[in-house]
Amino acid sequence: MEILQGFLDAIVGLYESSGLCYLPWQNYVMILISIFLLFLAIKKQYEPMLLLPIAFGMLLVNLYPSIMAAATDLVPVSDYLASHGGEAANYAVTTLQGVDYYNVPTTGGLFYYLYQGVKLGIYPPLIFLGVGAMTDFGPLIANPKSFILGAAAQIGIFITFIGAIFLGFTAAQAGAIGIIGGADGPTAIFVTSKLAPELLGPIAVAAYSYMALVPIIQPPIMKALTTKKERAIVMTQLRPVSKLEKIIFPVLVVIVVAIFLPDAAPLVGMLMLGNLFRESGVVDRLFKTAQNELMNIITIFLGTTVGATATGTVFLDINTMKIIVLGLIAFCIGTAFGVLFGKLMCVATKGKVNPLIGSAGVSAVPMAARVSQKVGQSENPTNFLLMHAMGPNVAGVIGSAVAAGVLLSVLG
């Protein structure tokens, strides 16, 4: 009989500690949303490398919120003293609603520890290390004026900032929302984790979803702002870039940017380090690791922990809707300004620059460059804009890191 009683008690205990009892309804909604995102990632292939871990992290945290539990327990001081025979302890004291609590160290959840890489700004620069190792800056060095297009597309960030401020967000939050317009995942996460960590979940989901939607969002804007004649412009062959130039480039860029904008130094520095691994040709093993193993490991940790910040209470908020709308506006304005500056350069060079490459200034590498190629080719089938568009595209990566540095230094 005792055994039976014990068994029943155990089952009741299990039931009472199960999620069925303590998960609020918001978590169930989030579970459905995460399943939808998994569908988008797997079936529709929306940036699956990132959206899949993000969606799954979201799923896990809404099933088991303690997976992100911090490594401290709040124990009321009176209870602690009672259980320790009146001996006071050296822990920090937090006062909530008039009651004193000790911050007793304990073991945090799995994602709590992995999340430290995001919170402390470690993962995004490491991802940039891999990105730099995968990027060929040749087209940009051959035609440095592409930097202008990379800068122009970042205006979307600052205009969205204005929109976000007027929609009720604080300045820091508005800065984090604006950076979505940079179309750069690691930059967005880096800035958000420093300026508005409470909005990391919605901003990351918005940023990566829009990056996947670049081929859908950009073409209509590009076609609306350019004439048929401008779209058909064929650009002259880029000059070949020597190895020495490619080696000097990363060193020069990091020196210039890091001196003028120290807040951008971690991102730009790691980007250029990765690029130097690639161009120097003498650190083959480091080069291979940076773009393969390291990228993959960090992507897994970053994706899952960023997704795990999207709890029901944070995500199912009117703010998330505002962020999604503002993110779209940021993208569209960035594309528009890129194309407009492309037109400006077209006029300035008397028709030598095809304005379509301007939209590649949003730093979604290489997607935005491919979109420029595609739209240009639909106008003139023999037109190969891809390499020319890669210039502004990679300039946009540097441009968005610089913009991030500005936001961090002004708002941080």
Partner: protein, 133 residues
């Protein structure tokens, strides 16, 4: 934040961001153009020297070929010490020519480097990248 504060903050950030991003990137443009010019001038000078050496090698090949008229599937032996083309490159070129025109009795008279506007590998790379479209 009241309305006036919002306007101030947003315009401050807009103008600061705009100016700083453009200034830094324009500075980078100027520096890249500067070192690009320096490097390409230095490399042009060394490329001129190389071109002169290769013209010499081509001239050497012509005189060598005239001396070995009876060789079928000609594998021209050039002293490797002459700057520019090594034995293996000459052998490969001769073999390729032979494969194209076949049936032996191929006489390689001279080998000259043709300046390429777009290297073949670049063309292949571009075609590879754009084929999905």
């Amino acid at each position: 934040m009241d309305f006036a504060q919002r306007v101030t903050t947003s315009l401050t950030v807009l103008i600061t961001g705009f100016v700083v991003v453009f200034v830094v990137l324009i500075l980078l443009i100027l520096l890249i153009m500067a070192y690009g010019a320096i490097v390409s001038r230095a490399q042009k000078a060394s490329a001129d020297r190389k071109a002169r050496k290769e013209a010499l090698a081509a001239a050497e090949l012509e005189t060598d070929n005239a001396e070995s008229a009876e060789e079928a599937a000609a594998a021209v032996v050039t002293p490797a010490a002459q700057g520019g083309l090594s034995d293996e490159v000459v052998a490969v070129i001769a073999a390729a020519v032979d494969a194209m025109y076949g049936e032996g009795a191929v006489k390689v008279k001279s080998i000259k480097k043709v300046p390429q506007s777009r290297p073949v590998w670049s063309t292949a790379g571009i075609l590879d990248n754009t084929r999905p479209f």
